[in-house]
């Protein structure tokens, strides 16, 4: 079998999909967004916009400003699907602005829950790199914006759950084997005692679609940014180990393998695939790649996870589509992406 088997702890891309670091910051001179009129919000937005775009750093030229109220509904929802803004951010777009780096790795939300939310996104496990970039941008902005800060409570935020560092570090994890084994409830309960939250990212309930989970730090006060990141990293590594052990235990299960190959078959031949079905099937195919069943570039799968979402699909096509039309285009999109890669290597059970 030529497919890559993941055992290395420096390469955890079989479990960690992406990394996100978010800083919550506020301007000292203005009340928090919940106490701001639309007019004042626009004022805050223009101050932040100027501080970023007129800043004397190499990165300034690479940002573009988006006034949220000027976007179409599809464009706005697509920003959420690409994880560039929160769902809350597009619920009321008045007075809200977004600064986006050219490669979309940095987004700065203006007037979300706080005046400024700096967010850095990266593929795979990149906690340190993402933190350093967010920290650098924060330091640059602080010089001109003078962020609200209290010596005892740290950075001040609209919701007291974010005071202190104002930092939320998150990892998006693919945990199909742990989900299959039914261990998720127990794991997330024990993590909550450690100040870490683990929850499903897509869909509701105990079995989120696509087996995609988000692991993030909960406590932001009385802990340094580095300590919080180290904690998160240590726990993520334990989860990686547990997930890999669960995968090994399942690697000979004919039921699991059947589901993986069956999912691949459907994605290769189906003409209509709904969003939720697609999430589930892609997760199974990804599981297959991680188990060494097929050779498909994991980045292709990461990209598909976003491109199949309804609003992003319509944005990329450039017009409004009915659900049935979307299901058809989605099926074609996935088929094309998967066909570019090698045909699955046949994998037999060793005992057979």
């Amino acid at each position: 079998m030529s497919a890559k088997k993941y055992t290395d702890l420096t390469d955890v891309n079989d479990v960690v999909i992406s990394t996100r670091i978010r800083f919550a910051r506020n301007l000292r001179e203005y009340p928090f967004p919940c106490r701001l009129s639309d007019e004042k919000k626009r004022k805050v937005a223009s101050i932040v916009k100027e501080a970023v775009l007129e800043g004397h750093s190499a990165i300034s030229d690479r940002f573009r400003y988006i006034q949220m109220s000027e976007l179409t509904q599809e464009e706005a929802v697509s920003l959420v699907e690409r994880h560039l803004v929160s769902p809350e951010f597009i619920s009321d777009r008045q007075g809200r602005g977004l600064l986006l780096l050219d490669d979309e790795s940095v987004s700065i939300m203006i007037n979300e829950e706080d005046h400024v939310r700096i967010q850095v996104l990266a593929q795979g496990m990149k906690l340190d790199e993402a933190y350093e970039l967010a920290d650098k941008i924060d330091t640059l902005l602080d010089e001109s914006l003078n962020f609200a800060f209290n010596e005892k409570l740290g950075y001040l935020t609209q919701c007291p759950t974010n005071i202190g560092t104002g930092m939320r570090a998150s990892l998006m994890l693919h945990l199909p084997a742990l989900q299959e084994s039914g261990a998720m409830g127990k794991i997330s309960a024990s993590l909550s005692k450690l100040g870490i939250v683990l929850r499903g990212l897509y869909g509701e309930g105990s079995e989120p679609s696509g087996a995609v989970y988000q692991l993030s730090n909960q406590v932001t006060l009385g802990i340094t940014e580095r300590e919080a990141i180290k904690n998160l990293n240590d726990i993520a590594m334990q989860l990686v180990q547990q997930e890999r052990n669960a995968r090994d235990a399942m690697s000979e299960s004919i039921n699991v393998l059947d589901e993986i190959y069956r999912s691949y078959g459907i994605l290769m031949y189906a003409k209509l695939v709904s969003n939720s079905e697609c999430m589930k099937l892609l997760s199974n195919v990804r599981f297959g790649v991680e188990m060494g069943c097929f050779e498909i570039d994991i980045e292709t799968l990461n990209r598909l996870l976003i491109e199949i979402q309804p609003a992003t699909l319509m944005k990329n096509i450039g017009k409004k589509l009915s659900p049935a039309e979307r299901d058809h285009i989605r099926a074609e999109l996935v088929k094309t992406a998967l066909s570019q890669k090698k045909i699955p290597t046949s994998r037999r059970l060793e005992n057979n």
Partner: protein, 169 residues
């Protein structure tokens, strides 16, 4: 564990509330959590305790003062009801009222992380000393004595500069 309300689905939400000084814990499934109004903090961006925070505060009993923040006009009742603090100054105005909730949320009450541009030099030095002390302990544990000696000198230097500052003040 099954949801304590419907007893059908797997519990995914753990809720702790303090009502009249009594801690109560519930484990609910996502549907029941939503039904009781705890669904919102399962939103996309991090753990949002807005509503839960609000319910923490109600339990403590609203203070009788009619104090309002001079900057944004919020009363403590406004903050407790919405779970949202009005402005940076509210944290000074209502520091004593907010502190119990802050402690409950974070388990701690003083910041040790990054310092803003505006923070006083005193705090900066104090934090630098704390950082050096942690590194010193690690260096001793790892038997890196050369590094430990450097750190010790650095701490002395910092402590001296802090002393100079306080006499200057």
């Amino acid at each position: 564990m099954l949801c304590q309300s419907c007893e059908k689905k797997q519990a995914t939400t753990h809720i702790k509330t303090i009502m009249n000084g009594e801690l109560k814990e519930y484990r609910l499934c996502s549907d029941c959590a939503k039904k009781y109004g705890y669904g919102s903090f399962l939103g996309d961006f991090g753990f949002d305790l807005d509503k839960l925070f609000g319910s923490f505060m109600e339990g403590i009993g609203a203070p009788k003062t009619r104090k309002r923040c001079q900057c944004c006009g919020s009363s403590f009742e406004d903050i407790a009801r919405s779970g949202k603090v009005g402005c940076a100054e509210c944290y000074d105005t209502f520091y004593d009222e907010l502190l119990p909730s802050v402690r409950r949320i974070h388990g701690r009450t003083s910041h040790t992380g990054k310092l803003a541009h505006s923070a006083g030099t005193g705090v900066k030095i104090k934090n630098e000393i704390a950082k050096c002390r942690t590194e010193l302990e690690q260096a001793i544990k790892a038997q890196e004595f050369e590094k430990a000696a450097e750190l010790r000198d650095r701490i002395r230097e910092l402590e001296k500069s802090m002393g100079d500052q306080s006499t200057a003040d």
